[in-house]
Amino acid sequence: MEATLLEMKNISKDFFGNTVLKDVNLTLKKGEVLGLVGENGAGKSTLMKILFGMKSIEETGGYGGTIEFDGKPVAFHSSEEALASGIGMVHQEFSLLPEFTATENIVLNRESTRYSVVSELFGSRLNTLDRQSMQKKAIEAINKLAVKLDSEMLVGDMPVGHKQFTEISRELSRDGMKLLILDEPTAVLTEHEALALLSSIKRLAASGISVIFITHRLAEILEVCDQILVMRDGCIVKQLDSGNASVSGIAKAMVGREVDTSSKKAKEVDVETAPVEMEIKNLWVDMAGETVKDVSLQVHKGEILGIGGLAGQGKLGIPNGIMGLYPAGGTVTFRGKEIKLNNPSDCLASGLAFVSEDRAGVGLLLDESLEWNISFSAMQVNNKFLKSYLGGLVKWRDEDAIREVTQRYVDALQIKCTSTRQKARSLSGGNQQKVCLAKALALEPSLLFVSEPTRGIDIGAKSLVLQALRRYNEQQGTTIVMISSELEELRSVCDRIAIITDGKVIGIRPAHCPSEEFGLLMVGHQGEGK
């Protein structure tokens, strides 16, 4: 039996009262590959951040439990400490310099240097680089990974896969690397590259390096891992050996919990037969981290359509692309009329509205009053809240009308504020979200996109926002397209749910379908439907 390398015991973590990890236990032997799966927000990355000693953990009050690494109890206060004791982590976003070669990136800030006399006077940074030895170091690391990688190629000219290999090689080039954490390393790779990576992981494990492997591609997990941990809501819900695991079993464990959908009234009209309100064909959107590749979708009149999927798969790109916030292409028809893409004013004028997931960046004028925030779009698009003088030549802001409409939404959505003149910046997240919603509703749209409406807000505000959405859908007949990472939230509000994987629609199911079916879709298994 191999020796235990890492043992995490009773790890718990809360962000100011919001528990994200409770009582997590984990053991990893030398040369073992551990697969870590779970929905977004299940606590995987927090767990890894704790292990890797990221600053954000300490800044938010540390964690509970103990970690034992390589036989010694450890508590890392910085990632440097973690690196020093032999833990390397490859993050999802590349941390590479495009104008450096692979070698330069691999040995970044650990360059071999040649002694130069001036360094006695001005410090060791004036030693010259020893390119040969740098290259030797880099090639050694690349060889450990056993992939084809040109050590002298500029990273900027590399295909994505090679960038990923460079990143991993960098971790491997550190002395005494014992544990490698890979956070979704295959997400950006082609199938061929992913295969190469998997075999490298196996080789690494064989050479005695342990690997923690986070991914959404369950088949990969089965292929390469010795042990699989499934996380949900901050707990480990299932621990499996790769021998007795199946994709569907893992998927079920991932989404697991059943919600009470009894409170949801059945719709009087059957949305599936209702006329098509919006038709999306071959949409692509260039939104960093949420690229939409090819989406075709129909939205029926009066329904609430949910769009779900794991983070980074492209679900957020859809509304952002249609509403013209990111470069997009394809065709979108709304009520039989084609909508000009990359042109927000045309979308708004046609009766679309959008509540963005990025409240501070897109949704709000943080330094202006609530009145401005709520009335602005409607004023600009629908010419509301304006007084006309000189035969329409001068369109004067009607402060009274603005105050009145703001007050109305403040009451309707229960926005907690001292006055309608309060600056949006000083509101809490939940109230800011309501302001965003009020802004969209003030446009009186026929179709409303709502993106991540409950992200980062407390439970009370959450249910208020969701209720409001349903109310407007039922009372005013507003068609709503809601994008959310939380499947259960979608299931509780929506009529149908489309799941986006890899920038494409992988399947659409009625909301009452069992959750594991959605879970399977999310991890890319199309199943029997469609």
Binding site: P344, V362, M379, Q380
Partner: protein, 346 residues
């Protein structure tokens, strides 16, 4: 106490120091034998001269184009209008009106092109604006030599071609605003006409900011992505703001000239943007927020310092350090605004 601290934080230390400095100058002045009345007259006169140029900063700040270091471009349009009005032989009050009329097409054209350019270089506006200003002034230096002006009051006496470096506006629009309804009380003399003209433009600006377009402009400056998401065509709003700023710069220089009495060509406009920029910043504006109040307060404080320091300093320590103080105060203020952490987010 807490309230006090917050007030200071919002107001900013540099501004507080400048205001306190000016206040102390006014307090010391009588003891130093400086006549408050004359100083105040001077300050008000300079305020009325420079107010419009400071006002020209407002639209571009509102639309998020930053501080208009390219004001010299507007000034050039104004100079063209001013010289053309004289060339065409308009005299007296009419010449001022015609100067404004004649400078307008230039201001619109320059502003439009300048706005288009700034739209292509978002994020780097201020540096490029500076150099657009410089390049245009140096280009006009050549033009002043070459353009076929012939009014003998304007061209060099010998040779008969090329404009003089300074041209007197005597007989044309000299003091047309300053002397209009001028009020004299003892040492105090108030150039009512200039003040009224500034007030009119300031009111129009205030009114514009209350219209639909003006609201859109403020939103573009406050959060361009929000504005875009609300269907605003950001680029055209920005261009509009640049045109407005350029036109105000053109009118501003005409107001300045009629009070000053001379047109300064060639190198004259090179650094005219800096006093205007620092004045509005002293008045409480930041790189993306400005109001009419900021303009009035800032111009008054800035011009107050410029007029008071030489006289007071001279009579106390017999050394005229006013130029040094002006440079340090005005550029220090700009530096402070550029390095404020809160504005780094964009």
């Amino acid at each position: 106490m807490n309230k006090m601290q917050r007030f200071i934080k919002e107001f900013g230390w540099p501004r507080l120091i400048i205001a306190a400095f000016l206040l102390s100058l006014f307090v010391i002045a009588p003891f130093a034998g400086v006549n408050i009345g004359t100083s105040l007259t001077d300050t008000i006169m300079r305020f009325s001269m420079n107010g419009v140029m400071v006002l020209a900063m407002v639209p571009m700040i509102h639309s998020g184009c930053g501080l208009n270091f390219g004001l010299p471009l507007g000034i050039i349009a104004g100079l063209l209008g001013g010289t053309l009005a004289m060339q065409f032989g308009f005299t007296g009050k009419l010449s001022f009106l015609m100067a404004i009329v004649l400078c307008t097409p230039f201001a619109l054209l320059f502003g439009w092109a300048y706005g288009k350019l700034l739209n292509r270089v978002k994020g780097g506006e201020m540096m490029i604006a500076t150099y657009v200003g410089f390049a245009s002034v140096s280009f006009m230096c050549m033009m002043w030599l070459l353009l076929p002006y012939s009014n003998p009051q304007m061209v060099w006496g010998y040779g008969g071609s090329g404009l003089r470096t300074t041209i007197s506006t005597e007989g044309y629009y000299y003091h047309v605003l300053s002397d209009f309804l001028n009020i004299k009380i003892g040492h105090l003399s108030i150039p009512t006409g200039s003040l009224l003209f500034f007030a009119l433009l300031a009111f129009l600006m205030w009114a514009f900011l209350h219209t639909k377009k003006g609201t859109a402009m403020t939103a573009v400056g406050s959060n361009p992505i929000y504005a875009r998401a609300s269907g605003i065509k950001i680029d055209s709003i920005r261009t509009l703001s640049v045109i407005m700023s350029t036109w105000l710069g053109a009118v501003g220089i005409l107001v300045y000239e009629q009070a000053f009495g001379f047109i300064q060509l060639y190198n004259g406009p090179f650094y005219m943007a800096l006093p205007a920029v620092s004045a509005i910043l002293i008045g409480g504006a930041s790189v993306n927020k400005a109001s009419i109040t900021n303009v009035i307060v800032g111009t008054f404080l800035f011009q107050g310092i410029v007029t008071m320091t030489p006289s007071v300093m001279n009579s106390i320590i017999h050394t005229d350090m006013s130029e040094v103080i002006r440079i340090i105060v005005s550029n220090g203020m700009i530096l402070y605004a550029l390095t404020r952490k809160t504005e780094e987010t964009r």
